[in-house]
């Protein structure tokens, strides 16, 4: 004890140390980890469970399978049972996860104080406030409550209607700015029925789309992409190998035009006229179907105002092209005309073409038992808005993501009307522009957290179940409505306790209709398991209404303006609802490759006319001049993106950006086009001025010119049929030595050898694979600044090149292909790594060991495909976005290199499962996230050592040995990297 530490001192010290550890610091209290007393059978840590449910990102009604790990949803896949999605979903569907975990979701009910600030209140107070105001409104008279929401499926919509009735109101609007009203009106005019036709693109030989961007947002893109890919796959025709012929009539090319043979650049708004001119030619050429049972003269008379010459002048489409379109539609054995946009006349023309060429009932069918109309007709919605602005409504409930302030046409004055309502209640997830003026804000469940059903078409009944506990203190929208209705309904009874109850009872009714003899529990369980009830609906025979040809259509007036502004729905943001998902902002829009911003597409000729500074390519510019565009409803400023993919004189801008609220990811980017587009149209004549001001729009794309390199290859159908190789390959082969000296022994792959084949012809560039990769592999989102610095982290990217004028005759409209790590046999990245972080696995993968990587970045320098990504920045997932992270995949820290792994976590899981079960792996058991998401089924993944695998079959089918002579190629073969990813060339018809 002479050392100075007495027993007393020791005890004192020990006590202090003990107290210091026992007293918690300033940190918030940690969450408790408590083991289950009785573990839940269905939750095994580390083992995912899967639930079938519905995607609610658009109205297509795709069924999805949610992958749940430890009680939270981490991935959505298409539901293979669902006849619409058939196992694939689009980028928007993938990004639904970022809707659930969006950090800007409203966490608690909030009430606006008189000074305009928001204060959190309890649910009880909020509901009391709501019910009091509703009761007061109901007391004041009939129809003094209005509901504006987006359609949420037949049962839930019924709840909304019932709720309104409980408060004595019939003012219920299911609003969507992009709606099917023109299609229904046209069906009514032509066939006397208001249901929507179902298209069978894969049964056609020729497809002409008059303004329907069916590969991007129109209709049911996932289903149409799949059918279109099938339609465009080479098959044996009467004269050898052939593919379907497609044309797209629109002022801007888009993906639909890019993947078609012909992009017919028509003036905005004249798509319907072009269709009528085509019908005119069909009639005068005598190509009407025999069974059409109409007189060619009547058709000629009907289309007399649309003679090719005058339409050609109005639309800017050459008469030759009109003839070509007519020949395709009139002469093909199975043709399909589609119409898009908001002009019912275009739909009428397209329906008539289909009917008169004998294709109704074949490529375009009406089914028996079509579901009721989901969205309310725009004029009825307009009437409700008028009522609100006239003060006839006391309480407005804006719910379910309709966001009327953002999407309604400005001439309706909806924003002012709704915000001026005496009491505006907003119910939703992320507070949007409508919420910005609301008096009461109620957080509601995300569709993935609540019950729902859907009826996208006859025979398809989707059932959506909640896949996880709610992330926030939100409540299901329709539970709120039901409880509110019960509160009001003195004297009347509400049939349901809550939304779940409503869904179950609706499905009991459905069982009575679909399978009356089945056991109710079995039917319900089966529906839950498979995601709904799916039946083949019978086709109804329809006949043209007699008077349709006697009601002449008026040609669309020629625009006198020099410039026209065209709004097109952004492939990811649609009508604006996708803009708050960081993945969708970060993934480049496929045709423009622009991220995190709005822009306006300007043809180089227009740019020259405006005196706008143009650049040879987009990879260097620091900024570009902003255009001031004067529309009848105000001036807007957008940055020009000079691109040949738009018609001269047309300014095309994406719809969906321009939010002033709606969360940190959406706010303050670009312009809300809806404000400037008139109701019932997506084009408006404008005047343009170039401002001095410059602004930088950001793209990860370097040059748009492929410079003749074999990155995305194409060959003509004629070459394919004749068994010739394209010219570029013949040149390459002459230069490539047949045998190469190998210093090292070739790799041996005793077990599996993973490979991939990508069909460039099928790929539409929809970027579903990119979004799927972000979700599966925990790819961080950098934001605009990081993308500008070249730090986009995507492992798979959609490469887009524009053929030069010299190439155009022998090229598709655009070169589009997904590019991911090619998993080379001679991987250039491997030998340059000083620490073996990049190495070769016995299964043929170029693995990257994050732990071992020191960050020399030599591997990326030596990679000819430039697919490796370096973590330049500290990745961030603002809470609760982090809950989406896939626990099977490491979140990479800064300073390490990463890249596509062929979803090695999926490979390993399947291998372990097979080993545990003491069996061989089955082909198709492992599927990468990109291949799984692909609606076009362009990507095939599999074992190259298995001679019976699907990938080997696909490769053999498309190698020189079969009738499809050699569509296979590998990217940049001159680098002799021997990639395990092979591509199948894109196809085009040789231009005469």
């Amino acid at each position: 004890m002479s050392d100075g530490l007495s027993r007393r001192t020791f005890l004192k010290l020990a006590a202090t140390a003990g107290a210091a550890t026992a007293i918690p610091g300033c940190e918030p209290a940690a969450r408790k980890i408590v083991p289950y007393v009785i573990p839940d059978e269905n939750i095994i840590p580390g083992v995912p469970s899967y639930y079938a449910t519905l995607c609610n990102e658009c109205d297509a009604g795709c069924g999805v399978i949610a992958k749940i790990r430890e009680g939270r949803v981490i991935k959505l896949e298409g539901n293979p049972n669902d006849p619409i999605s058939q196992g694939a979903i689009c980028a928007r569907g993938q990004a639904a996860l970022q809707g659930v975990y969006n950090p800007d979701r409203l966490g608690k009910p909030k009430r606006r104080l008189p000074d305009g600030t928001l204060r959190e209140i309890s649910w009880e107070d909020a509901l009391k406030l709501l019910n009091d105001r509703l009761a007061a409104a109901a007391k004041a008279g009939k129809d003094r409550v209005a509901f504006i929401g987006a359609s949420q499926g037949p049962t839930l919509d019924k709840i909304a209607v019932t709720w309104a009735q409980a408060y004595g109101s019939s003012r219920v609007a299911f609003w969507a700015r992009i709606n099917d009203e023109p299609a229904r009106a046209a069906a009514d005019a032509c066939f006397g029925r208001r249901d929507l036709p179902v298209y069978r693109l894969n049964q056609a030989q020729a497809i002409v789309s008059f303004g329907a961007d069916f590969l991007e947002t129109w209709g049911s893109p996932v289903e149409q992409t799949r059918q279109f890919a099938e339609f465009r796959t080479p098959r044996d025709g009467t004269n050898g190998v052939t593919i379907g012929k497609a044309a797209y009539v629109s002022p801007r090319m888009g993906l639909t035009g890019a993947k078609s043979d012909l992009w017919v650049a028509a003036n905005p708004g004249t798509e319907g006229d072009v269709a009528m001119a085509v019908l005119n030619i069909i009639a005068s050429q005598g190509w009407l179907a025999k069974n059409a049972a109409v007189d060619a003269e009547a058709v000629k008379k009907f289309t007399a105002a649309f003679d090719p010459a005058s339409v050609s002048q109005r639309s800017g489409v050459a008469v030759d092209q009109l003839n070509q379109l007519a020949a395709w539609l009139g002469q093909a054995d199975g043709a399909l005309a589609l119409a898009g946009g908001d002009d019912p006349q275009a739909y009428i023309a397209a329906y008539l073409i289909n009917a008169l060429t004998g294709n109704v009932g074949r490529t375009m069918v009406f089914l028996e038992g079509a579901p009721a109309e989901a969205t309310t007709r725009p004029e009825e919605v307009h009437a409700i808005i008028r009522a609100i602005s006239s003060g006839a409504v006391d309480v407005v409930v804006a719910a379910g993501g309709a966001n009327p302030v953002f999407t309604m046409p400005s001439e309706w004055g909806a924003a002012a009307a709704i915000k001026g309502a005496p009491f505006l209640v907003w119910m939703g997830e992320v507070p949007d522009e409508t919420a910005a003026g609301a008096h009461l804000l109620l957080p509601t469940h995300h569709p993935l957290e609540s019950w729902r059903d859907s009826a996208p078409r006859a025979g398809v009944y989707g059932l959506g179940q909640p896949v996880m506990q709610p992330v926030f203190a939100s409540r299901p929208l329709h539970d709120v409505l039901i409880s509110s209705a019960q509160n009001a309904a003195a004297g009347q009874t509400i049939a349901w306790e809550n939304a779940q109850d409503a869904i179950t009872s609706a499905w009991q009714d459905l069982q009575g209709k679909l399978a009356p003899s089945a056991n109710a529990t079995d039917f319900w369980n089966q529906a839950l398991r498979t995601g709904g009830a799916f039946q083949e609906a019978a086709v109804t025979a329809v006949t043209l209404k007699g008077d349709v040809l006697n009601t002449p259509l008026a040609p669309r007036a020629e625009s006198r303006s020099q410039f026209t502004l065209v709004g097109f729905p952004h492939i990811f943001f649609y009508d604006g609802r996708g803009a708050n998902k960081p993945w969708l902002q970060e993934i480049p829009e496929p045709t423009n490759q622009i991220v995190w911003d709005g822009w306006v597409e300007v043809h180089p000729e227009t740019a020259a006319r405006l005196g706008l500074q143009t650049y040879e390519s987009t990879y260097l510019y620091g900024g570009i001049n902003v255009l001031e565009i004067a529309t009848p409803s105000g001036r807007l400023e957008l940055t020009a993106n000079v691109t040949p993919l738009v018609k001269p004189g047309v300014l095309a801008a994406p719809i969906g950006q321009g939010h002033t609220a709606y969360g940190r990811y959406a706010k303050g980017r670009g312009v809300n086009l809806w404000e400037y587009l008139p109701a019932g149209s997506r084009a408006v004549p404008v005047t343009v001025r170039v401002l001095e001001k410059q602004y930088k729009i950001v793209t990860p794309l370097g040059k748009s010119d492929m410079m003749g390199r074999s990155i995305v290859e194409a060959m003509s159908v004629e070459e394919l049929a004749a068994g010739r190789q394209p010219e570029i390959v013949r040149e390459e082969e002459a230069d490539t030595p047949k045998t190469a000296y190998e210093m090292y022994d070739p790799w041996k792959y005793p077990g599996h050898k993973w490979g991939m084949t990508v069909d460039v012809q099928a790929c539409t560039g929809c970027s579903a694979c990119v979004a799927a990769c972000y979700a599966e592999n925990n790819l961080p989102v950098g934001g605009k600044f990081e993308v500008d610095r070249g730090r986009i982290m995507s492992w798979i990217r959609i490469e887009r090149f524009i053929p030069t004028a010299a190439e155009a005759a022998k090229a598709p409209n655009l070169y589009i292909a997904p590019i991911m790590c090619q998993q080379c046999d001679h991987a250039p990245c491997e030998p340059v790594c000083p620490v073996f972080a990049s190495h070769h696995t016995p299964e043929g993968l170029n693995a990257q060991i994050y732990n071992r990587c020191v960050g020399t970045r030599f591997c990326e320098n030596n990679c000819p495909y430039k697919v490796r990504r370096f973590n330049w920045f500290q990745a961030e997932w603002p809470e609760p976005l982090n809950l989406q992270l896939n626990p099977d995949v490491t979140v990479r820290g800064p300073g390490v290199m990463e890249k596509c792994t062929f979803c090695i976590q999926r490979i390993t899981t399947a291998e372990i499962d097979a080993r545990t079960a003491n069996r061989q792996l089955v082909d198709g058991e492992i599927i990468t996230a990109c291949a799984q998401a692909c609606p076009a089924r362009a990507i095939t993944f599999g074992d190259l050592n298995d001679p019976n695998s699907a990938i080997i079959k696909r490769r053999l089918e498309n190698s020189a040995r079969s009738h499809n002579q050699g569509r296979t190629y590998t990217m940049l073969p001159e680098f002799n990297a021997l990639p395990q990813v092979t591509y199948l060339r894109s196809l085009y018809w040789e231009k005469a």
């Binding site: 390519s617 990879y619 260097l620 990860p700 794309l701 370097g702 040059k703 748009s704 010119d705 492929m706 410079m707 003749g708 390199r709 990155i711 990081e786 610095r789 070249g790 730090r791 986009i792 490469e799 887009r800 090149f801 590019i819 250039p828 030998p831 340059v832 790594c833 000083p834 620490v835 073996f836 071992r852 990587c853 020191v854 960050g855 020399t856 970045r857 030599f858 990326e860 320098n861 030596n862 000819p864 495909y865 430039k866 990504r869 370096f870 973590n871 330049w872 920045f873 500290q874 800064p894 300073g895 390490v896 290199m897 940049l972 001159e974 680098f975």
Partner: protein
């Protein structure tokens, strides 16, 4: 004598004792201005260091780096400093073996520059690393996981080449200094006496010691000579071994070695010219020395011009469209100005050295050497960042511009180098009195016969 030194006129025939005196004066304790200068350099070093720490903490987010320019300013600096390091060994080892007389005045300076340039260069691969704290994984060391570096990687070759070079350079420098330090030891007091006593390794100047010294020095020179060629060849293989257009070329090894000697000799000029003035060494580092050195600069400049032409010719001759496109962008692309500025600095400005007056006028020489330094830095920058910018996939083209971080660290590296060099110059013999005295007749002869016109100046 003092008047002659101050007037800056080269005396016709310095005596042996004068050589000693002037050398002694050079590394006598520095004054206030000297320490202010050292402090200034230390400040620059601290600035660079602070930015490096900042970069480690905040990641590469604060740099201009991004896809596809994975390598840019840091590797440019690395190659630049390694290149600088080459002339030292060239002058001290190769010229020693060839018994070239004019090396005497400047070889020590060049060697010193070599050591500190390698020390500076060695920092840049570390600064460049994504996770610098794991840098030692590149070294083969015994560990329980039996992990070794991949000897196929040129970066591992680099590590060995640079560390070997640093070792040999340091040994060569310190071995050569022994007689000079022993000489200085005799008159030094205090700390300096202790320092010199240690570093002179008990040198007595006996015949046996001189014999052994000469043999060791010769052996080391013979040992260092191949390194002059090998080290920069290895550095060039960092690039040439890849498949990147603009890098993948067999010309790189000789091309880089020539460039290294070019830039190294230019930096010797840049350092020697102010130093001989400030440290009053005009009698020891004479116009004769500078003239001879500038002839090497001129020769290597012409070699570089030839290399650029050959490089371009080979690209044209292969007819490979990918290479052609890369070089087209290098010459005429949006960042083509770097290339043409480099050509101006490396190929045009040094042609002035054909004029004898330029070669014998220090201010002209200084200006030319600065241009060469800038040009050679740009050359590496153009090759590294330019080639990466215009890679195999046109969709991934993107040009690089440095941010404040890279610029500050680059400035810091100059501060670090100059600080070390300045400290060395005041504490250790920066000119070799031994060799100067040994070859004094050549010095006298050269000054008398070759540069008579300088006397009148």
């Amino acid at each position: 004598m003092a008047a002659a030194v101050e007037s800056g006129i080269t005396t016709e025939s310095p005596t042996l004792i004068e050589v000693d005196r002037q050398a002694q004066f050079a590394f006598s304790p520095g004054g206030v201005k000297y320490w202010l200068w050292v402090l200034f350099c230390a400040g620059l070093t601290a600035l660079g260091g602070a930015y490096w720490l900042h970069q480690i903490y905040y990641t590469f987010n604060i740099t201009g780096y991004g896809q596809p320019t994975m390598w840019a300013v840091y590797i440019t600096n690395f190659v630049f400093w390694v290149g600088i390091a080459h002339s030292g060994t060239l002058i001290s080892a190769i010229l020693y073996l060839f018994r070239v007389r004019w090396r005497t005045g400047i070889f020590r300076l060049a060697e010193t520059m070599t050591v500190f340039a390698v020390a500076t260069a060695g920092l840049f691969p570390l600064i460049h690393l994504g996770r610098v704290w794991n840098f030692y994984w590149l070294v083969p060391y015994p560990n329980e996981r039996s992990l070794q570096p991949d000897f196929r990687s040129p970066l591992v070759w680099d590590l060995f080449a640079i560390s070997t070079y640093l070792t040999i350079s340091v040994m060569f420098l310190f071995t050569g200094m022994i007689p000079d330090i022993a000489n200085a030891r005799e008159k030094a007091t205090g700390f300096r006496r202790i320092l010199y006593s240690i570093l002179s390794f008990g040198w007595q100047g006996t015949d046996r010691q001189w014999r052994n010294f000469s043999m060791v020095y010769l052996l080391l020179a013979a040992f260092a000579t191949p390194l002059v060629l090998s080290v920069h060849s290895v550095v060039s293989w960092d690039f040439a071994m890849t498949q990147l257009p603009g890098w993948h070329s067999t010309i790189f090894a000789p091309y880089f070695v020539a460039g290294a000697i070019f830039s190294g000799c230019a930096l010797v000029l840049t350092l020697a010219i102010p130093m001989r003035r400030l440290m009053k060494l005009e009698n020891l580092i004479t116009i004769w020395h500078l003239d001879c050195l500038s002839k090497i600069v001129l020769l290597t400049s012409v070699v570089m011009t030839y290399s650029y032409a050959t490089e371009s010719f080979m690209v044209w001759y292969t007819g490979d469209p990918i290479e052609l496109a890369t070089f087209h962008e290098r010459y005429f692309g949006p960042q083509g100005y770097w290339f043409w500025l480099m050509i101006f600095c490396n190929c045009v400005v040094p042609l002035l050295l054909f004029i004898p007056t330029v070669r014998t006028t220090t201010i002209w020489l200084f200006i030319v050497s600065i241009f060469v330094n800038i040009g050679m830095w740009l050359e590496r920058f153009v090759i590294i960042s330019g080639s990466l910018s215009t890679n195999q996939d046109p969709s991934q083209w993107k040009f690089y511009m440095p941010f404040a971080t890279e610029i500050a660290i680059t400035i810091g590296s100059f501060g670090w180098f100059l600080m070390n060099f300045s400290l060395f110059a005041k504490f250790l013999p920066i000119v070799s009195t031994t060799e100067l005295k040994d070859g004094i007749k050549y010095l006298r002869q050269a000054v008398r016969e070759v540069y008579p016109y300088r006397r009148a100046a």
